[in-house]
Subunit: 351 residues, 2 copies
DNA sequence: AAATTGGATGTAATCGATTACAAGATACGC
DNA sequence: GCGTATCTTGTAATCGATTACATCCAATTT
C-alpha cells in the first residue's frame, strides 16, 4: 500500500440535469433556475443544487441549450487562409473579446475556393453560429449572401463591399494613409517613386494606389505608368520579388519604392539585396501594415501602421451588441480608422 | 419600371424538416432518410424531398442533430496565444483536414491564464466539441484533465507530457535536431558556441539544450556555463534581445550562437546589428523552426526545419480516426518527426 | 387465390435543456 | 378565521432532428 489510490471522478459519462435534480431532490426546472436566476430560489435549494452540481461534475449540454434557446454562442471568422501572420493580431483580439463574453470562435479558411465558401455558408444556415466576421475581402459566393437581411449579423473586416448593405464594416483609411506615405517620401526629396500595388481586384489595394497618385498629383509630379507596378496576386513575398526584377531591369531606377504591404516590401528588399542593391543606401523602401517584422527586419521598415488589434476588438464588440439584440434589425456601423506613419530605417532623404 | 425587382428567397426564417416534409407530402422520418440514406427511399420520394429542400432552402439544424447524435462535428484547438505566426501553418493544416471531413475548428487562446483554461475545459465538458488538440505545451489546469480517460479524445502537438497518458502525441526530434545543428556549427570550425535557450520550463527547449550539450561533449568541447544563455520566458524577439546584451557585454564573445527558435535569432540579430555587429561576418547565428521569415530575413537564417504543416495534418487525421471510433478506447499514437537542417547565410565557416 | 416476404413509409419516443403555466405554501390584512 | 397576494416549486410542452418499431402495400411463392 505505497500510495493512496487516485479517486476517480464521482460520475463517469454524461451527467445530465436529471442526475443533478435527482441528487438534489428537486425538479429539473429548479436546477435550471438555480443556475440561470439564482435569486429566484431559496437559499437552501440553491445550496442543495450547487452541492449536487459539484458532486456530479455537471456541465449543461450545449446542444440541448442551443436547440431550445436558438442560439449557439459561437461566431464564425472567415479568413482567406493565405498570409495568415498578418491576420493573427485580429484573430487574437477577436478571441479575447468573444471568449470573455462566453462566445466561441470558429475559424474558416476559404482560400478563395468556392466550394469552401459554400461549405461555410451551410454552417451559417445550419444555425451553427450566431454571427459572421468576414476578413476575406469579399462575400462568399453563396445564396446566403446574395440577399439582405442575413440570417445572422455579418461584419466585414479590413475591406468594404460597395453596393452591398446590411453589415457593419471596419476598415482603415487606405487612401489617406497611402497619400501620407507618398507625401512623406516626396518630402524626403524623392520624385521618382514607384508603387508596388496589391492585387488588382482588391479594393484596399486600389485605394492605396489612388492615394499614391493623389500625392504625386498634389506635388506636381507627373504620373509615370512605368513606375506603377501591378500584377500582384497577393500581398505576399512573391509579389515583391516580381517587382524587384522589374526594378533591377529598369534603365532609370526609381529612388524610392512604396509597397502596398510589408510582406511585399520584404520580398522586394530580399530580392534586390541578392543583386547587391541595399536599402536605404541605394533605394528607399516603404511598406504598409506595420506587421511585427517591420520593426525587426533589416533594415527596419518604414511603414504605415494598421490598427489590426483595434479592428478586431471593435468589430467583436459591435458583433456582440448586434447578436444580443436578437432578431431585431439592430443598426450596423461603419468604422474607418486612421493609420499612422511609422518612420524607421528603410527610407531616407535623397542626397 | 426600370429594373426587375429582386426576388427574395422563397422562405424567410428558419426552415425546419417539418416544412420540407409538409411540402413534399411525406413524413419527417422520410425526409431524414432521404438525406441520410438516399437509397432507402423510392426515386420518386427522393425527388420530391430534394425538390422541397431546394424550394425551401432547408438546412438541417445543427443543434437538434447534435443533441440527438451526441456529436458536434467540432474540434477545439487550444493555442498559447502568443507568437502566433509560428502556429499558423499548423492551424492551416488542421483546418484543411477537418473542414474537408465536415468538422469545424474552434480556436482558443489560453495565454497561460488559468481562468481561460478552465473556460475552455468547460466547453469540452459541455460536449461542445468532439476532440481537443493542445498546442499549448501543457495540459489545462482543470479537473477535466487530471484523470484519464477524458470525455473526448485529446492530442498533444509539438510537445509531450511525460507522466501522463491517454492522448496521441505529435512532436519533433528536438534533441537530435539540436545535436545536428550544433554538430554543423562545430563542423564549420566553431568551438565557442553559445546557446540561447528557450523557456526553462519548456520540455522542447530543454531537449534542444540537451542536444546542444550532447554535441559539444561528443566533439570534446568542454561545456562552458557562461555560454548557455537561459532566462527566456518565451520563444520570442525579446529573449533574443536579452541574449544580445549578454553577447555584447562578453569579454570573450562566442563565434557562433545557436538560438532555440527563429524569432529568438531574429531578435538577437537585430539587437547586435544596432551595435554594429553583423552576422555572419562577425558572428555566426543559427535558429530553430524554419518559419517563413527565415528565408526572407537578412541574412537568410540557417535553421532547423520543423514540419509544422505535417504535424497539423497527421494529428488531424489521427483525431478523425479516434473521433469516428465513438466511445471505444481507440489506441493513441506517438509520432515523432525528424527535423531537417536548412543551410542559408547566417552561419559561416570560421576563418 | 391465399400466404408469405420484403421494401417503403409513418408514428412516436428520444436527446437534454428551458420556460409557460399550474399548484402549493406562506404571509399578510381585514 | 378567511381571502388574497407573493413567492417557490413542479409539471409538462417545446426546440428540431433521428430512429426503433409498427404498419401498409405490392410482389412472390405455393
Amino acid at each position: 500500500m505505497a500510495e493512496a489510490p487516485v479517486k476517480p471522478p464521482a460520475v463517469r459519462g454524461p451527467v445530465t440535469i436529471q442526475d443533478v435534480a435527482r441528487r438534489a431532490g428537486v425538479s429539473t426546472a429548479t436546477v435550471s433556475r438555480a443556475l440561470a436566476m439564482p435569486d429566484r430560489v431559496t437559499d437552501a435549494t440553491r445550496e442543495a443544487v450547487f452541492a449536487a452540481i459539484r458532486e456530479t461534475g455537471y456541465t449543461p449540454n450545449a446542444a440541448a441549450r442551443n436547440l431550445r434557446a436558438k442560439t449557439t454562442k459561437m461566431v464564425l471568422v472567415l479568413l482567406p487562409g493565405i498570409g495568415n501572420s498578418f491576420f493573427t493580431p485580429i484573430l487574437n483580439a477577436l478571441e479575447e473579446v468573444f471568449s470573455e463574453a462566453g462566445y466561441g470562435v470558429l475559424i474558416g479558411y476559404t482560400r478563395q475556393d468556392r466550394s469552401r465558401e459554400t461549405h461555410y455558408a451551410r454552417v451559417i444556415r445550419a444555425g451553427q453560429v450566431d454571427g459572421v466576421l468576414l476578413v476575406t475581402g469579399h462575400l462568399p459566393r453563396d445564396e446566403e449572401f446574395t440577399h439582405f437581411p442575413y440570417t445572422v449579423p455579418v461584419s466585414l473586416l479590413l475591406s468594404e463591399m460597395p453596393g452591398y448593405s446590411g453589415f457593419s464594416v471596419f476598415d482603415v483609411e487606405n487612401r489617406a494613409a497611402a497619400r501620407t506615405m507618398t507625401d512623406y517620401l516626396i518630402g524626403l526629396g524623392h520624385r521618382r517613386i514607384a508603387h508596388i500595388a496589391g492585387p488588382t481586384l482588391n479594393p484596399e489595394a486600389n485605394e492605396r494606389m489612388a492615394g499614391y497618385r493623389e500625392a504625386l498629383a498634389a506635388a506636381g509630379i507627373p504620373f509615370d505608368p512605368g513606375l506603377l507596378w501591378t500584377g500582384a496576386t497577393n500581398f505576399d513575398f512573391a509579389s515583391g520579388e516580381a517587382a524587384a526584377r522589374r526594378f533591377l531591369d529598369s534603365t532609370e531606377r526609381p529612388t524610392a519604392v512604396f509597397a502596398a504591404a510589408d510582406e511585399i516590401a520584404f520580398g522586394f528588399l530580399r530580392a534586390i539585396r541578392s543583386a547587391g542593391v541595399v536599402a536605404p543606401r541605394d533605394v528607399s523602401v516603404a511598406g504598409f501594415d506595420d506587421t511585427e517584422y517591420a520593426f525587426h527586419y533589416d533594415p527596419a521598415l518604414t511603414t504605415m501602421h494598421q490598427p489590426r488589434a483595434e479592428i478586431g476588438r471593435r468589430s467583436a464588440e459591435d458583433m456582440l451588441r448586434r447578436m444580443r439584440a436578437g432578431g431585431d434589425p439592430e443598426p450596423t456601423v461603419r468604422v474607418r480608422l486612421p493609420c499612422a506613419l511609422v518612420i524607421r530605417e528603410s527610407a531616407r532623404r535623397l542626397d
